[in-house]
Symmetry: C2
Subunit: 407 residues, 2 copies
């Protein structure tokens, strides 16, 4: 009992321990995915250009690829006349060469023919069969994008940690990348426990309730960038819990177990974790959510959440969302994911432990949602929660508070 | 030419026309999906509770289900003693009934047995075999959540348009919903065109470039909540364009065509749209992105984007992102998706049409990215764009600007 008591942690301490357990046991991993499917994924490494872009001297306008000096002196009153020896569409090539007195008609995007050093826009030319009158002068390189002028081969184009938005995906595509290495989504599983738990689609017998935490925590993990799956329901029985955890950890790196009752699972889970690995946190000094348990088995993390869905959601958000999001490679400043406002009703809090108060945000009005912690319907309207430090007994109406927002 | 000219639109006009074409031709649709897979989806209709919650009178604490009056007068000094006639775990039921002088031991979450009206917490009880000493009094309903106290059957619990976050998913699961009706993702296709376009994975011949817009616009549509797919490359040939559009519109409701060149596709697309349907916009008075074309064929929308990726991305974001996002059921105030700051370098703009200037945001410093519009690598760092109205010639260093952010 003496040493056990040491595993009850204050909030800040628990946050640090969980982050440390993530850092020590779970290294970010990568996977190769199609660039066309990459929206919202995070680059795992720096990306360098594979080739010059444009890959050739490119016409920027529709017109005539000329030797610029052939245009010198030309004007509307006194045009210079050249032979048009070919026509180049974008994507086409020619073996003809532009020499003095000659030019090639060219479309935007086409590769400049050999010899030519400028494009004279079609608006300043008068074409007649296989001749053209140049009505103005052009300087060398005019309306030509030089090979490599946008980017040269071997340059850093995107950075590790970059969020792949459509523009960055475009950059990768322009360099011919078919696939790209991104952070692998952390592999998360959720098991619900409790004899009263019934799955949706089954008939609800008297005294039983539908499972909430399985699907809810799965979706919360997904919102943090994880690949999460619900792994079913187990009874609060030592052998069954041990077997289910052992089996689940073959599939996933992070396993959430959520008890149907506040008491039932906690004790069993504690003993299973003690046998198979090590318990690092057994209780957090927070209301609600005290029975939270965190352990490590073979470099995989097992987290026992409170059975009450409102408590489970707050504990997940307060303690696990940040390390999980980091593991997914997503740079997100959780301190910035808050809104400030004034509380609309007095909140009483028990001195001696941190309290999380569910709230609804309405502009700068922060409305506490007072319901007993089993009241799942408070989640219909809750936007997040306010933290009331352990030595604060009262937050008075009108006081400034900071709301930690749910995903 | 006279009537054609009328189809060149000012920016604000084009935004209104495109929104109207979406509203008139594309009605939001719904689909039924698994609640467990619903993160980030949008509710298509109001949702009402199917049953009372809790579905039975529920014990909120571990302890003893008693008749409250059996506890009256009890204290530590003078406990009342009751017979313990059964034990109820969560999920279990009993046919035994609590009567005067009797009680049933009960776990948190279990259904209250018949007769009992309160739970006396285990901390205030002394159990001895099949007897228990009550050390305190309880009042009727103490530590009992009444059937329906959280929500009664038939109440509005979630609203049409609600974003399904983990908490709201929890609410649905608690009511036993296996599936739920959400907005169907708008069906979008993208075709690239141009003889110079090469797909990633193929060898790049001289004079050709990799397709960017197919994958980039696909991912931009996905970021707006659409189900988008790349439908391949077509040549800028009348019959091929006509066939490809006809085939594509069997699959998708909104089709983007993006020309490899600024000129090539526009004219062909215009004629195909004229034949198969109606052209509503042929040119927008904006730099870059003038050759944009919008038409309707059999209540489906076809949009021709500029071939240049930077232009295509800006046109997509400025004109299509908002109606597409609305069609997906997502309520997003695009006016709020902006950041304000001071421009770090003078921008010159051509008077007579709106100019979109690509920028990078660095705190409140807004850095214009000056590159010719073919410079795809500006998208490595661009965060959005600034709109310079058509009568403004110059935005001076230090002036306040508003940045429209990319997804």
């Amino acid at each position: 009992m003496g040493t056990e008591f040491l595993k009850i942690k204050e909030c800040e301490e628990a946050i640090d321990i969980i982050q440390k357990l993530f850092d020590e046991n779970l290294k970010p991993q990568s996977e190769e995915i199609d660039v066309g499917e990459a929206y919202g994924r995070i680059l795992y490494g720096d990306v360098y250009s594979r080739m010059d872009f444009p890959p050739f001297d490119k016409a920027l306008k529709d017109g005539f690829a000329v030797l610029s000096k052939d245009s010198f002196g030309a004007s509307e009153e006194s045009p210079n006349t050249l032979d048009v020896i070919d026509f180049l569409e974008a994507g086409a090539t020619t073996d003809k060469k532009v020499e003095e007195g000659k030019c090639i008609e060219i479309s935007t995007g086409a590769a400049m023919p050999e010899g030519a050093d400028a494009v004279l826009m079609v608006e300043y030319a008068e074409k007649m069969d296989d001749k053209v009158n140049l009505l103005t002068t052009v300087t060398p390189s005019q309306d030509v994008a030089r090979k490599g002028s946008d980017i040269e081969e071997g340059n850093l184009i995107l950075k590790k940690g970059d969020f792949l938005n459509p523009g960055k995906i475009g950059v990768l595509l322009s360099q011919g990348f078919e696939t790209i290495e991104v952070y692998k989504k952390p592999s998360v599983g959720i098991v619900s426990s409790g004899n009263e738990i019934t799955l949706q689609g089954e008939e609800l017998e008297y005294g039983k309730i539908y499972d909430v935490n399985g699907g809810m925590i799965k979706n919360d993990a997904i919102s943090c960038g994880a690949d999460a799956k619900f792994l079913g329901v187990m009874r609060d029985d030592y052998d069954e819990v041990k077997q289910k955890i052992t089996d689940s950890l073959k599939d996933v790196d992070i396993l959430f177990c959520s008890g149907g009752t506040s008491a039932g699972l906690g004790d069993v889970l504690k003993h299973v974790l003690d046998e198979l690995g090590e318990v690092h946190i057994h209780g957090i000094s927070v209301q609600p959510g005290k029975p939270t348990i965190v352990g490590v088995i073979d470099e995989k993390i097992v987290i026992g959440l409170p059975g009450n869905p409102v408590s489970a959601l707050m504990i997940f958000n307060a303690f696990v969302a940040e390390p999980l999001t980091k593991l997914a490679g997503i740079e997100k400043d959780f301190e910035l994911e808050t809104v400030k406002g004034k509380i609309t009703k007095r909140i009483h809090s028990q001195v001696g432990r941190m309290q999380y108060q569910l709230v609804k945000v309405d502009g700068d009005k922060i409305q506490p949602i007072f319901k007993d912690s089993g009241a799942i319907f408070s989640l219909s309207t809750a936007d997040g929660y306010v933290k009331i430090p352990k030595l604060v007994e009262l937050v008075d109406e009108g006081e400034d508070v900071e709301v930690y927002l749910f995903n």
